[in-house]
Amino acid sequence: MAIRPTSVTEVSGIAPDRSWLTEVGDFCRQRPLGAIGAAVVVVNILVGLAANLIAPYDPLTTDYGAMLARPSAAHWLGTDAFGRDVLSRIIYGSRTAMLVGFACALLGATIGTVIGVTSAYFAGRVDLLIQRVMDIFLAFPLIILALAVVSILGTGIGNVIIAIAIPMIPRAALVARSSALAIREMPYVDAARAAGYRHQRIILRHMLPNVMAPYLIMLTAYLGQAILLEASLSFLGLGVSEPTAAWGLMLRGAAVQFAEAAPWMAIFPGLAISLAVFAFNLFGDSLRDALDPRLKTQ
């Protein structure tokens, strides 16, 4: 049987059981900026989920009678070069951004954490080998590695998710390993080993749950990065393909050509990207401060 790690507060019984609502309330009071970030994130997620209910127009339907229309009562944020409603495309673009963001961050942070913890657990030559492989990937800037992967795999939403997740893995592995190194030396891990549990069980049931704080922090930090990377790849024509509604895609092509005549085509998707990334970063920073204040100084 595994020995559940306990904290000092649980042992002393000083802290009473607190509901998650109280925790959220405390978080909002203590970190108002983080709360604002979280609110924007939640709104983004809801908008993405309910896009088909709240978007005023179909994001793919062209209207050549309303090409490059200025923001008006009919089209709050104007239309693009094909007469497609910019607001509707931003709303549906939120779905693409959230899908890519969450998929990449989950994939990258999870695989990276598993690798990092495994590396720390086995230590020795295994650790050395894994870390050197991670070092090779870390040598490349995030966007360069993503560009390389997408140029091999091709464009499309699935490939973009893989292309963005891959460069995140070594970064997550590095953070998870440093946390797991300390956990490896904990008595409960020794006890599990002494009890004869298999490596897999020790890693998955005893070590991984104890790196959840850095994992959650990485997850929120990577969400913003993934959204930005997806937008960058799409802007370069290497991300999702037209006519899919995606923020980065909305910034390229006709938006560049008509930057002077129809600036709304670039301004609003640009604002959407900035707001989402800023919100994820604010939320991530506050979450880090709340869950693991030591990481702030690191």
Partner: protein, 536 residues
Amino acid sequence: MTDISVTRRLSIPALLLAGLVFTGPAAAQDKPRYGGELLFAVPSEMPSYDGHREGTFGMVHPLAPHYNTLLKTDPNDRTGTKIVGDLAESWTIAPDGRVYTLKLRRGVKFHDGAEMTSRDVKASYDKIVFPPPNVGSMRKGQYTNVEAIEAPDASTIVFRLKWPQASFLASLASPYNWIYKADVLARDVRWYEKNVMGTGPFTFVEHVKGSHWVGKKNSNYWDKGKPYLDGYRAIFMKDSAAQVAAVRAERAHIQFRGFAPAERDSLVAALGRKITVQESPWDCAAWVAINQDKKPFDDKRVRRALTLALDRRQASVALSKIAVVKEVAGVQVPGTPYATPPDELEKLAGYGRDIKKSRAEARRLLREAGVPDRFAFTFTNRGLPMPYEPIGIWLIDQWRQIGLNATMVTIEASQHVNELRAGNFTVSSDAQCGYAVEPDLDLAKFQSKEISHNNYGRYTDKVLDDLYQKQNRATDPEERKRYVREFERRLLDEEVHTFITLQWHRIVPHSAKVRGWTITPSHYLNQQLDAVWLAE
């Protein structure tokens, strides 16, 4: 309200344009002025200097002013189809249509001072038609009909053909068939890959790779009084924003290939009367390739539904505001001798004026062929923004309207060609561009896969092959027109092996100082610059 504002915004530059375009002929009547250096941007650079070997306009634009060809298209003919003499002064065709005898100009000198004779012409054409092993000749396949090239005297050159060929004069006017010096070719047949020496209006000065190409006036040019310019400087610039900025800042007078409509509008808005805009249908069309090895596209009813879904007339008006496409056309550039008359064009599938009726017919055909509603397939698009991306977005929207759910996958441009050749696609964008408007050049691609290596539809159609041969050998223009029409009907309507979306549209906004240059449907033609001059 929205519509009005858009119309107003788009129509101001359009009206301005119309005015500017029509100032062209008046300006052309001005007396040419000598002097000045023409500055032009070139969006591409040449792999070698040999016109017989290469195909890119990145070579033609900087190098064509150094050379002459045997024949050329009339520099003032906007259709780019009227053939006139360049080094050939006159020519005759034997009654059986198999012997072409051309008389050469006398007194033409190469830039090294040597006299140009029929020996040089024969050596140049021998290199093009019968190249030695390991010497590239890109258009060799277009001269398979040539049996022999003879030079009976210093000023006569004779081409003997295996069968009469309607397009043979046009093929002698190819903008790539520069006349090289026989002695140089005899010493080193590949000398022209890295060196320049012709009979043209400008001599070579320097080429700084990635930067510029400079030519200066040939004071011994055979066409007395020409050229008007002291010289020219071609500036290599790949980025279109940089090209627009160069023209805007008057660091370049012109970029001969063309700009997008938005770039034209921004230049007109910025420079007003200092800019002249010339526009023409382009000898390039945006095609759709359909892989007939893939079901259900082996069924011509499904292929017909794809073309019937397209509202080409609406697209012509709308897409021409944002992309380099405009004309609704058949297999030949509108306004040229073999172009389809509008009333005949309307009879072809997808060219009718009643789009509701066309789309109803498309849905019926899909049902009949057993294609389910919301049938999903992939449209493979070439990874170049202009005009492929707007055309792709438009196509997907049009197909949605007949219940087809196409997803666009964009592939990098060079890889896209490989995928087409390998048949790794279902439906794809395709392009057909010619260096001259000529049915032989424009239709060859659509012959059976056993004949045409860029028949991406992977079909075999012996009737089509036969019609191609008939139009190729018909020396009577009216008879040839009939065969071209039959070919077109079979290709686009009866079998729908493939189809055209819209013809490309060439837009060249340039400094109003540039005079004596006329746009044609091909960005390879009319680049000798001998008649170009700069106004004060």
